[in-house]
């Protein structure tokens, strides 16, 4: 069953199309890598999926919600409750402890804090950063900061986990570990995972891939590592 159904979306910046009449769907609980050269529109696609921006044309339907028709506050609620973001620059607020950073989405969405707090401790334990929760971000290594970022993204059990170059700042060893952890947790929580990456090592870990070129789905897109047949858009 498709969690995300994208029909003919276009997004233009100035006179240039970042996405042009793109159609695709993401199945519930599946994991996808989104590949493409710089400027191919992959990050734009991710942010449109995350409700950070609205498409100029076409529709994005996520779990029965047409994002183009949501009001600003409904879209904010969607971002808070259904979507988890893992940014390349993990971007943790330096004035707060890691735990406070992780609890931020729960605070914004007025969720039950006790329940969320217990959950983030479990995730942090799983990711091996439980000892970092009371620390400030600047006291952590890059890998630990990224794991805290992942904990924050998963804190509200999102249906859709969107990662923008999550391993872009990590060495290859940490990169592989972090990718595995993201994949494991997304599977455990039943979240649909979409990862934008340049890293072939990361891409290799995904059986379903979309390749974007000039805002279109490239014919290189395939749904199986060994499958060279492009999917039907």
């Amino acid at each position: 069953m498709a969690l995300v159904d994208i029909q003919g979306i276009s997004k233009k910046y100035a006179d240039q199309y970042a996405l042009n009449n793109l159609t695709l769907s993401l199945e519930e609980g599946e994991q996808y890598a989104i590949l493409g050269a710089s400027g191919s529109g992959k990050s734009t696609l991710l942010y449109l999926l995350g409700g950070l921006e609205k498409a100029d044309a076409g529709t994005i339907n996520v779990s029965g919600r047409d994002l183009s028709k949501l009001s600003d506050s409904a879209l904010a609620k969607y971002r808070n409750e259904l979507v988890g973001f893992v940014f390349q620059f993990h971007f943790l607020l330096p004035s707060m402890t890691c735990e406070k950073n992780i609890l931020l989405p729960a605070e914004i969405g007025s969720h039950k804090m006790a329940k969320v707090r217990k959950k983030i401790h479990d995730i942090a334990e799983h990711l091996g950063v439980a000892h970092c929760l009371k620390k400030y971000p600047y006291q952590l290594s890059g890998g630990e900061q990224q794991r805290i970022n992942i904990t924050r993204a998963l804190s509200l059990t999102p249906k859709l986990l969107l990662c923008d170059e999550p391993t872009g700042n990590l060495d290859s060893e940490n990169s592989a570990k972090v990718t595995d952890l993201i994949q494991d947790l997304a599977k455990e929580f039943g979240s649909t995972l979409a990862v934008v990456t340049h890293d072939p090592g990361v891409a290799k870990k995904f059986s379903k891939k979309f390749v974007l070129k000039d805002g279109h789905l490239s014919h290189e897109s395939f749904f199986n590592q060994n499958d060279s047949v492009p999917p039907t858009p």
Partner: protein, 403 residues
């Protein structure tokens, strides 16, 4: 929402330069509010001091006959009692010169019945025969003190030698302060009978001071008391008729008091500019934070904070700043009031302002009006600016800030 507000503020402000900026904005706004409060307070203080000073020399109401000297008949006394006049004191008021230490000064001489006059004015003025009580400013000008001798020079009145002045020596019995410079400089009190004899008025008086009953009305506000005095003036007009001129205690300074009220309003309006300038400082602070901390702001939005909530959070922050500024402005006002009463550099030129020292007088409505107008300007300006500020898309912000 409170948690989000707290986290948002913490994320934006907990930076040394931001804290310094916030402190500057806070102090600036507090000072601007304090300037308006102090201006209003000093004007109100002036009015209050002037009125209480006037009351100290006249009681609540004075009346005099248009025909000059008159006898206060039993019917009038009875009528006043029936109207609720608590106490009254007939007096003679005339003009004279006082000569001392080879200098002289034109004065208003009042012949009073010590007991009744003290009761009406609340001041202990009990002049003995061949003695006078003077104001401290007059004593200063003539360099006289209690126990010194002075000469009073006045007209002979309707006596045979009315072409020649009447001169008589008096001893300075005491000093009496009215709280009004002009009265402290010009008023001299003496025994009424003695003055009547000197002027040959044969027991007649030319003025009556009366009190509407301070004890019974002590719980009234100043405004209610003034209203009660005005009502009594109307009642006395009915009782005494058109031959008498009846004046409430503020009447002689009515135009000045009205001018001060208008001045207060005008200055308060002009001083709104200071507040508006301070609010523009707040606006620049908001703009500065919005630019400098845009990463944090976009992150909050990406994590689910709606534009509406973001504006609400900004406005809450600004309202907090307003509330703290209002609170701190009270410290500035207190400081100004202290300086006004303690520092000689801030004493007023009494001959211009009628009073040497002033105290700020502020009531709840003054605070509400000043704080309320500040909040109004603040919300108006900041809300408009916020509407313009948050038009950038989150994606634009993320791309710009995270690249």
């Amino acid at each position: 929402m409170l948690k989000v507000f707290s986290s948002f503020s913490k994320a934006l402000i907990l930076d040394r330069s931001n804290i310094r900026f916030a402190l500057g904005v806070w102090l600036g706004l507090s000072f601007s509010i304090a300037v308006i409060l102090s201006t209003v307070g000093i004007m109100d203080g002036f009015i209050t001091s002037l009125k209480s000073g006037l009351k100290l020399s006249n009681g609540d109401i004075t009346f005099s006959s248009r025909a000059g000297f008159f006898e206060l008949g039993p019917l009038t006394k009875k009528g006043m009692k029936e109207l609720g006049v608590a106490s009254f004191s007939p007096l003679i008021e005339s003009q004279a010169f006082v000569v001392a230490n080879e200098s002289s000064k034109g004065i208003v001489i009042r012949g009073v019945e010590g007991q009744s006059y003290s009761q009406v004015t609340g001041q202990e003025i009990l002049p003995e025969r061949e003695s006078i009580i003077v104001g401290p400013e007059l004593a200063k000008v003539l360099s006289i003190k209690v126990g010194d001798e002075v000469v009073l020079v006045m007209a002979q009145g309707n006596r045979q030698l009315d072409g020649l002045p009447l001169l008589k020596k008096f001893k300075v019995q005491g000093l009496i302060e009215h709280g009004i410079y002009q009265k402290d400089l010009r008023f001299v009190y003496m025994d009424q009978k003695e003055l009547s004899e000197m002027l040959g008025t044969k027991g007649k008086v030319n003025m009556v001071s009366l009190n509407i009953g301070q004890d019974a009305n002590q719980n009234l506000t100043d405004e209610q008391r003034e209203q009660a005095v005005e009502e009594m003036v109307y009642d006395l007009e009915d009782l005494l008729g058109i031959d008498y001129r009846i004046k409430p205690y503020w009447e002689d300074y009515r135009s000045m008091l009205e001018a001060v009220e208008i001045e207060k309003l005008t200055i308060s309006l002009i001083l709104q500019i200071i507040v508006i300038i301070s609010i523009f400082n707040v606006l620049s602070f908001v703009t500065f934070l919005n630019e400098k901390q845009s990463q944090q702001i976009f992150l909050f939005q990406a994590l689910g904070l709606s534009t509406q909530s973001l504006r609400r959070t900004w406005l809450s922050m600004v309202c907090f700043l307003w509330a703290f500024s209002c609170a701190f402005s009270l410290v500035f006002v207190w400081l100004f009031n202290w300086m006004l009463s303690e520092l000689s550099i801030l004493s007023l030129p009494g001959d211009v302002y009628h009073m040497g020292r002033l105290q700020l007088s502020l009531d709840l409505s003054d605070y509400m009006i000043v704080f309320g107008t500040t909040l109004f300007w603040m919300i108006l300006i900041i809300a408009f600016a916020l509407y313009r500020l948050n038009k950038r898309s989150i994606l634009y912000g993320l791309r710009k800030e995270f690249s």
